[in-house]
Amino acid sequence: MVTVLYPIMEFAMLSAHFWYPEQYGKHQDKTGGIPLTKPQATRRAFICAGTTLAGATFIIGASGLLVPAQAQGLAPTPTMRGGANNYLPGASVVSRIGGGGFIMSGTVRRAGDGAPLAGIRIQIWAHTTEGYESDQRSHGATLTGADGAFSLDMPQIIPAFGQAHGHLAYEGDGFKTVFLRPIMANSKDKSLSAHFVLQPV
């Protein structure tokens, strides 16, 4: 049965790649903390999405080589498709969203030189065990530390609209607004990360 399904799924992945080429590979870089935006990264996430393990290993290896090259003139993170869905501007800074138990983390750096940005407010929301994305109680914000890193305890994210995903937003003075929509590799994961490279205005 699996062998019957594979061509179908592979076809689906291919078509997804065709329709949303820029959409893949901008999330969940757990290695270097730098969102991967090169074409190779696109290919990497596309293959990771479910076709061949061997291909994924090969491409991850290849994308690792890109990281040092990118550090020279760090490109700003573009807003992801659907990233702003159910955004409620102005979520207040909280020590935890609801009962917590799930960690959303990441880094914020400046485009160009890649300098870590401290005191940046990142807004976070998702469909969790405690509410819909559109519920006010599902929203909260946190500030980056001196190293540009942020981390917020929040309720467990669960699959919604077919995919376990979170939403993050940077909106404020000094940098261009960015909305991210990282996808969980496994919906049972207890954490998710997303990284911002902000473009000064």
Partner: protein
């Protein structure tokens, strides 16, 4: 022997329709969804089950249900399928409008949304073609080709849509239902040339 075969086919058919719905009803995800979201998810599962029933009814494949009464039922089930798809999309719209708008505009980050939307329009078009059959005055051969072509889009679109979604359906029962949908459609498309 024929009776046993008939019992087995009907039992299998009923299990293929009811099984995935029953398994989805036990999904832990339902605990974190409101009634509208749950109902719209199940409308989608029902729609997929009806997509399995449709070719079997049209082709007279089910024992004891020949093509002529089968096709009368096929029309009613077709109407129910349109209603189920409308309930699926409408319920999701009420749950999270921006996600559905993205999907309908083919701007969604999730590839399965586009497949679902393509399948939706093909379902509506196939139903419209059936409803207007008398008025369109197409030759039977042309009409059948159009209806079949739309059905192929429905089946491919909805199967890929379902397989890529992580939702209330059980992984195995969903895969089995999808394989059955493809197999039943392929068999009837090949068999029925009248």
């Amino acid at each position: 022997m024929a009776a046993l075969r008939s019992v087995l086919i009907w039992t299998g058919f009923a299990a293929a329709l009811v099984g995935p719905i029953a398994i989805a009803a036990t999904s832990p995800l339902l605990a974190w969804r409101g009634p509208i979201y749950i109902a719209s998810g199940f409308a989608g599962i029902v729609a997929l089950a009806l997509v399995l029933a449709q070719p079997l009814l049209a082709g007279g494949t089910l024992p004891g249900l020949p093509a002529r009464p089968g096709r009368r039922l096929h029309r009613w089930v077709g109407a129910a399928l349109v209603a189920a798809v409308a309930a699926h999309v409408g319920g999701l719209w009420l749950t999270s409008a921006p996600d559905v708008i993205d999907a309908l505009l083919f701007e969604s980050p999730t590839p399965f949304s586009a497949w679902g939307v393509i399948a939706m329009w093909a379902v509506f078009a196939a139903a419209l073609l059936a409803a207007l059959r008398g008025r369109l005055r197409l030759s039977p051969r042309i009409w059948r080709f159009g209806h079949k072509a739309l059905v192929v889009v429905v089946v491919i679109g909805s199967v890929i849509h379902a397989l890529l979604v992580e939702g209330a359906m059980g992984t195995v029962s969903k895969a089995v239902l999808c394989v059955l949908v493809v197999a039943a459609t392929a068999k009837v498309l090949v068999d029925v040339r009248r």
